[in-house]
């Protein structure tokens, strides 16, 4: 089915792309192309325009040791197909420039800035070539992800300056916020340009939490890499470790036992539950509905307590191992989950009624922080934020993984695009999660919970998608000797930060925390 679809994609490629393709192969749901660098822009433009394809990831690899050049990797997913189109473009010998994709597909913006920071490859024609991840005190000529840069190298700080976008005019002033915030949240800097109360421009500046995960992963053997993946974004441990495991398992052609896949679904949904409870409670807290907030945080605490009882970790760490899961779910655990779910369901229904019937709260959330559908599609927004703007997109349904293919669930959407819509989507997702946990426990077959991984052949690459509570996350791994030769991680937040810059426009400054909370983006996952 998808093989035929992929062949027709190849047949319909315009001639200007066709002549630049050196090789193409179809394997399972993947179409892999080797293309000359000047073919990337027309290829991306064609896939976006004709097939509505979204950008999954765009990154570089340093293959100078073997092939003498850097390579660009573009992965796109055509709409409505469980398929990925991956294009590899080797740059010429000694070449460090390529034509920017951003003017053609907007969502390539941050990816290209990241490549510039990490590899020193410059996108010609990029509208905003400022550094993204590394700050102004990072010396020029040092590129962390190049192979000749050592993991432990700590270059001295240099003097530099970062230029924020300037908005000028009568009565326009700037409010700098961060990186240390008033709440207990992660660090990031927000620069508001404000005229009176309404925000006329917001610039988000991140990179404060950059820890060098991708570089570290290149020297971390696969089994230990699972633990690193769990710590990419602390509250999405299962999603990230599942994505990592799936990529390595695909490379090793390892078939994960069905029981383990069901346990992964249970854990992924438990993670979604405690995150969504926290998000919903956070929205209540920021609208000063304290009773609802306290109830919401209580639900979250109960969910995390269940996590600890099942796995020993409140944040569901050490759940996954390569080839399966670490610990089986006993009949006792199963009873415990079911009993807790019944209680949580009842309390959650009360919470929802309480929140939706409070006029003071609904007044704050309705029409606040609106993200239009066009904007969401254009910026390739993912997860609940996309679904609240009417973009019907969910990796669990569109690219089924683990046991999701056998389970029934709805993908809730809303069309409003405001805080209320995101809140309602999250509320509906909680209900779907309850149902998914029930189904996964019911349909769980007996059997082993882990398979032997086997050897991971070098040189191949695998791409794995997982729907985290914040949206689609991507782990792209190229196998090296016992560890990834290149490990590209793209968290959901990496796509959604730009959307938040748009959603706050025209809103008043006091509504910003509320809008921020309704997106609930990860700083650590974005900065890596």
């Amino acid at each position: 089915m998808s093989g035929e679809g992929l062949r027709s994609i190849v047949r319909q490629l315009p001639s200007e792309v066709m002549v630049r393709i050196d090789r193409h192969e179809i394997e399972g749901r993947d179409l892999r192309l080797v293309i000359r660098p000047d073919g990337l822009v027309p290829l991306a433009g064609h896939l976006r325009k004709e097939l509505g394809a979204r950008l999954v990831t765009l990154h570089a690899t340093d293959d100078r040791a073997l092939e003498g050049c850097f390579k660009l990797h573009l992965v796109m997913a055509p709409q409505g197909m469980d398929a990925l189109v991956s294009a590899t473009a080797p740059l010429g010998l000694g070449e460090w420039r390529y034509e920017s994709l951003t003017p053609t597909i907007n969502d390539a913006d941050w990816y290209e800035r990241e490549i510039q920071d990490m590899f020193g490859l410059v996108a010609i024609g990029h509208p905003d070539p400022r550094p993204l991840v590394l700050h102004e005190d990072w010396p020029e000529g040092k590129y962390p992800l190049r192979k000749d840069f050592l993991t432990g190298e700590r270059p001295p700080r240099v003097k530099g300056e970062y230029h924020f976008t300037k908005v000028e005019g009568e009565g326009v002033y700037e409010i700098p916020v961060g990186p240390v915030h008033a709440g207990v949240i992660e660090p990031g800097h927000f620069r508001f340009s404000v005229a009176g109360e309404p925000i006329i421009n917001l610039e988000v500046r991140l990179g404060y939490v950059h820890r060098g995960v991708e570089k570290l992963s290149e020297s971390t053997p696969y089994p230990k890499g699972v633990h690193l993946a769990e710590r990419i974004s602390g509250d999405n441990s299962v999603a990230h470790s599942t994505a990592y495991c799936q990529a390595v398992e695909a490379l090793a052609s390892c078939q994960v036992p069905e029981r383990a896949e069901h346990i992964r679904v249970v854990m992924l949904e438990l993670e979604r539950l405690y995150n969504l409870f926290g998000d919903i409670a956070g929205i209540a807290l920021d609208t000063a509905l304290s009773v609802a907030a306290a109830c919401g945080y209580l639900l979250r605490e109960k969910a995390m307590n269940l996590n600890e009882c099942l796995t020993g970790s409140r944040l569901l760490r050490s759940v996954n191992v390569l080839g399966g899961v670490r610990k089986d779910l006993t009949p006792n655990d199963r009873e415990k989950v079911l009993a807790t779910m019944v209680k949580l369901k009842l309390e959650f229904d009360d919470l929802v009624t309480l929140m939706l019937s409070s006029p003071s709260m609904m007044d704050r959330v309705e029409t606040t922080g609106r993200l239009t559908r066009e904007m969401a599609v254009d910026l390739n927004v993912v997860g609940p934020a996309a679904r609240a703007s009417g973009v019907d997109r969910d990796v669990r349904r569109d690219h089924p993984y683990a046991a999701y293919g056998n389970l029934n669930f709805l993908v809730p959407t809303q069309s409003g695009g405001d805080v209320a819509a995101r809140m309602r989507v999250k509320m509906d997702e909680v209900r779907e999660s309850f149902s998914l946990i029930d189904q996964a426990l019911d349909g769980m077959p007996a059997g082993p919970v882990r398979a032997k991984l086997g050897s991971v052949p070098q040189g191949h690459a695998a791409c794995s998608l997982v729907e985290s509570p914040r949206g689609e996350i991507v782990h792209w791994i190229m196998a090296g000797r016992g560890a990834p030769a290149r490990h590209k991680v793209r968290d959901a937040s990496f796509c959604n930060w730009l959307a938040m810059e748009q959603a706050v426009l025209g809103n008043i400054v006091p509504d910003f925390p509320l809008i921020n909370k309704s997106f609930n983006l990860s700083y650590a996952g974005n900065d890596l």
Binding site: V180, I185, E186, R231, G234, D235
Partner: protein, 153 residues
């Protein structure tokens, strides 16, 4: 609440009052953590753990704080902000390193973008291991830090 709990609460309040003349204000600083520790610090204020019952407050500004609760391995990007926050905290102040990253760099130890723990750059009064520590462990760590403060004062 039973009598014993009330008594313990009173003892603790008295101890805090002796040391600081009032309740203790805590400012949490994320110096590059993965957000796991923040989740647990947030859990401290929920109805189950409710650290306000000890007179411990999590405050919005380091200028109001007596204690900095630092998480994360101290990234290159956060070092200037952490030092500024420390300077902005009025003396007497203490620093508690929370989580394996803040103590030794944890799993991020030795990368180009981290500095391997808070005590490389600031004097640390107490360490709370865990990845992340559960809320009860954080409470125990904070109370332990208070002990140290008394013996110093």
């Amino acid at each position: 609440m039973d009598e014993a709990t009330e008594r313990l609460g009173e003892e603790l309040k008295a101890r805090i009052r002796r040391t600081f003349g009032r309740s203790l204000s805590i400012r949490e600083v994320d110096a590059g953590s993965c957000n796991g520790c923040e989740v647990e610090v947030n859990a401290l204020t929920n109805a189950v753990h409710d650290i306000e019952r000890f007179g411990l407050h999590i405050v919005a500004s380091p200028r109001h704080a007596d204690m900095l609760l630092v998480t994360g391995p101290v990234t290159r990007g956060m070092l200037p902000a952490l030092m500024q926050t420390y300077k902005a905290t009025p003396a007497p102040k203490m620093v508690v390193a929370m989580g394996s990253c803040a103590i030794s760099g944890g799993i991020f130890r030795g990368t180009y973008a981290t500095l391997d723990g808070v005590d490389k750059v600031l004097p640390v009064d107490a360490y709370i291991p865990g990845c992340p520590p559960r809320p009860q462990a954080i409470i125990q760590g904070i109370l332990l830090a208070l002990d140290r403060w008394e013996s110093k004062a």
